[in-house]
Each structure stands twice: as C-alpha cells, then as structure tokens.
Symmetry: C2
Subunit: 265 residues, 2 copies
DNA sequence: ATAATGTCAAGAGCAGTGCTCCCGTCTGTT
DNA sequence: AACAGACGGGAGCACTGCTCTTGACATTAT
C-alpha cells in the first residue's frame, strides 16, 4: 500500500504524526498560538527535526488548512447526501447546518479557513482545490434545480457587467451548467451563509440575536428564497407545510440536519 | 480643554503617539506582526515604558480596534449622509460601497475587526459600543422605510422562534421602531454585506468572480430586494434616476454602481 | 523652600518563539 | 562494502511579550 521504500513510509508516518499533534494544538490554542517547538516537544523530538518535514511554520499551517477544508467539505457532502435529491430546500438547509455545525465544533479551524489570512497574505495555491468542495456541493444543488427554480429578480434583472463577472466560476463549472441568474443568486446565498457563520463565531451577533439556532435556520430558509428554493410550491410546498420550516431544524446544537432529512421521509 | 494637570496632558499626548505609530504598523504589517517593541523603537523609548500606557499588547490592539470601528463608522455615516434621505436604495448602496471601500483601503484594520478574533477569544466590552455605528446607520435606514418597504417572504412567514430571537437588537433599538419582518431581513442583508466584503478581502472570490466591482454592486442591489428596497418603484425610481446611487459616495476604484442606476432610468 | 509622594523611563533579565547551521548517525543504493 | 543522502539533535541568532528593579523627575503638601 504505502509507497515502496521504508524510508518514505516512516517519513509519511511522522509527517502524519506532526500534523495530528499540530491539529490538536490548533484546536486548543488557535492558529496564533500554534508553536512548532511545542509540537516538537509533544512528539519528543528536537524542534529542528520538524523542519525536515515542514520547511516553515506557515507550511505546517497550510497543511492544516488543507486538512480542515477536507473535513468541512466532507461534513457538507455527508449532510447533503442524507437528504432526498428531489428535496432541494432540504439539501440547501442541510448543507447550511452542516457548515455551521462543523464551524461550531472546530472554531479555530474555521477561523483559520474563513478568518483573517494568517500567512503572508495570499492563500497558497494548494488550498484552492480543497476549498471548493462545499461550493461544489452547492453548485451541484443549483444544477439539479436548473429549470425548476425561479429566481426572484425584484424587477431588476442583472446588468451585463454582473453576468460577465461570473466568468471564472462559470468556466470552473465547465460551460453553462447553471444559468446566470441562478448562479448569481447562488453566489449571494453562499456568501451570506459564511457571513452568518462567521458573524456568529466571531461574536458579532452578541447583543443582536438571542436564539442563534432559530435565527440561523430562518435566515437560511429566507435566503433559499433568493435562489427560488422557497418560492416553488411543487416539491417544497408539501414538505415544508407538513413541517414548518426549521421548527426543530437547528435548534438544539445537536442533530442539525435531522429535520432537514425528515421531509424526505 | 485638555484636563487640568500637565501630567495628564502629556500622558494623553504620548498615548496618542503610541496608538498613531501602532496604527501605521498595523496597516503595514497586520495585527499578527504588531510588535510593542517595534512601536517603542519608532518612538525612541524603551519597550518597558510603553507598558505604562498599555498594560499589555492586547490592550493596545483593543485601542486600535476601537479606533478602527470609529473610522469605519464615520465612513459609513459620511457616505450615507450624502444621499437624499428619500432615496432609500441609494442610501443602502452608499453604505455598502463605503464599507467595502474602507475595507479595501484598510485591509488589516478590517481583518482586525471582522476577521478571526486575535485576543483571548472574546471581544472586550469596550469594543461593542463603537462596533454598532454602521449597524445603527442601517437600522436608521430601515426605520425611515418602515411602512413603505414591503419585505418578500416567499410565502413562508417567519417562525415565532425567529421573531423572538430578535429580542436583543429590538431592545437595543428601543421598542418597535422596526417591524419584525423588516428587521429580520435587514439583519440578513447586514450579514451578507460583511460576508461579501470579507470574502473579497480574504481571497475567497479568487477564481470565482472576475469583476468584483460589478459583482458587489449587483449583489448589494439584489440584497436590497430582500428588504423591499428594490421592489418599490415609487420613491426609488425617480430619486435613483435623478442622482445615480452613491456616485461620489464611496466608489473610488471604478464607479461600480453606475450600473445600479442604469436599470432605473 | 523644603520634604514627601507618586509618576515615569530605562535597563537587565526571563521564558518563549521561528529559523539556521553544523555534526554525528543511520539508511538505502550502487 | 562503500558512498551519498536523509535524518535527528544541539547550539545559537534575532526576535517577541512581559516583569522587576533602579534612578530621575515632577507634583504636591508642609
């Protein structure tokens, strides 16, 4: 399994151990408090030895970022996969609650991903790949709703410049998988989702919102209206009517997506 | 003017000098690179002397945070005051562009305010006051639009829990200055505004959006629809057409909001 | 005017950090 | 078996936040 030479095997193993210990430290002390020497101490090795595996502290952080992106992406994918694929609103809410749940469980990791960029000031190229996983889930959702979802434009259609500005993500998706208005609205909800989670985690909701669980669920539901997820009565109406949106959706910090999957059954 | 004793005067003066130099360092190296010793060096004083004015590095950072909040709040207020008060959409967009413009001009300060919380992990009490200024501008906007603005609910009204969750901000506003649906929608746009700015500044739009100017303007306009700012043609149409939204407000880079006024005309 | 009081700046020092260099060892390859 | 390269450890540099002590100064009360 592991690549040939025993040297490379043990090297990979030690690399793993370092990132593992570093992950623990990160979750405990935060990115600012992550010390290469402390990690080395925990591993019983000299600090200089760690540099054989990570040329700098920032490289270690980059590895942790990649890992965290993977963890978050996995959480989002898992949550979404547990909802019936026809239940578009359920899938959207499930992803929202998964992201929020992951963020609350791993606040320091979340801050590392979506907070102030710590290293130099430009996310290394290695991190852009793993970062797209949760976005990919959402665009998949939009693609499935293509034609079915009606985006409210409030009487003001997108300007040409706005449509053009979507070029990068459009080519990233490969062609016209998602219509411009829908893609644009999806971007807005994507931004708002992480804006909400960041505001909660970074303390900007203190003194503003009481029951963050209820607020978040309602906000994400309302945002679903921006991409037409709430407006359409066909697939959503029945399910949403049977169980008022978010009644127990994310209320207890536990089982956020339990209800999201419920309308499927 | 300055309080009596000459001692206190010179003390206040030195305190100012320290925060001034620290602000420069912050804008240059970021919060993580802010060194008390370096600041002291620039001032030609021993590092230990600085501790007479700020008991710890975090206290200096807190002072800078307060100052930055003030600067941002001022920018938002100035921008909004330059738009006719009847032009609600114009005021909203003006604030949006002011916030974004300020953030782009002071990326490190913005990261300090809305990025990962650096000190301990709980924003000191001193910072919550100045932090509310831009929010206050927005709530004032909502209050002025009260009764006039129609919030789209997409057929799904707010749950009771969601309405209840707004209690803190409601009492903060003092009574029922703003109706629940409107206040809730306003919160959503507020969160989305900072989510968008954060995503841009923290690099999460790289490879997603090309012309961020156009994208941001269109997104904020569309978000205005969430609070009913775009739906109503009555007051907006004329005012927005006569005076393009925030032409001189907060758009230095390339007049991104020229497009916002286009559809109105 | 003098003495007491409190404030201030400076220096030395502690513990910790990222990172580099050098040296001995140990391993995989030829 | 011999050699080149990977590896771990130790010492050391420059830097950080922070504390303690010492001496100079200004303010205030007597």
């Amino acid at each position: 399994m592991a690549t040939g030479t025993a040297r490379e095997r043990v090297r990979a193993e030690i690399t793993r151990e370092i990132t593992d210990v570093a992950t623990v430290h990160l979750g405990r002390d935060g990115a600012a408090g992550l010390s290469l020497r402390a990690v080395a101490r925990d591993l019983g090795m000299a600090s200089s030895a760690v540099y054989r595996y990570f040329p700098s502290r920032d490289d270690l952080l980059t590895a942790l970022i990649v890992e965290a992106y993977g963890s978050l992406g996995q959480a989002a994918e898992d949550a979404e996969s547990q909802v019936a694929r026809t239940d578009l609103l359920g899938r959207w809410l499930s992803v929202c609650h998964a992201v929020r749940g992951w963020a609350r469980e791993h606040p320091h990791e979340y801050a590392l991903l979506y907070g102030s960029p710590v290293p130099g000031y430009a996310a290394p190229q290695d991190t852009i790949g793993p970062a797209t996983r949760v976005a990919a889930v959402l665009t998949g959702l939009l693609a499935d709703g293509q034609g079915q979802l009606e985006v409210p434009t409030f009487g003001v259609p997108l300007t040409e410049a706005a449509v053009r500005s979507l070029a990068p993500v459009r080519t990233g998706l490969g062609g016209d998988a998602v219509q411009a208005e829908l893609l644009f609205a999806g971007l807005t909800t994507w931004v708002a989702l992480f804006g909400a989670v960041s505001f909660e985690l970074f303390g900007h909701l203190v003194g503003v919102v009481d029951d963050v669980d209820a607020w978040f669920d309602a906000t994400m539901t309302r945002l679903g209206g921006l991409v037409g997820l709430v407006g359409l009565v066909g697939s959503v109406g029945s399910a949403a009517a049977a169980e008022p949106v978010g009644t127990g959706a994310g209320t207890p910090s536990s089982s956020p997506n339990a209800t999201a999957s419920a309308p499927a059954g």
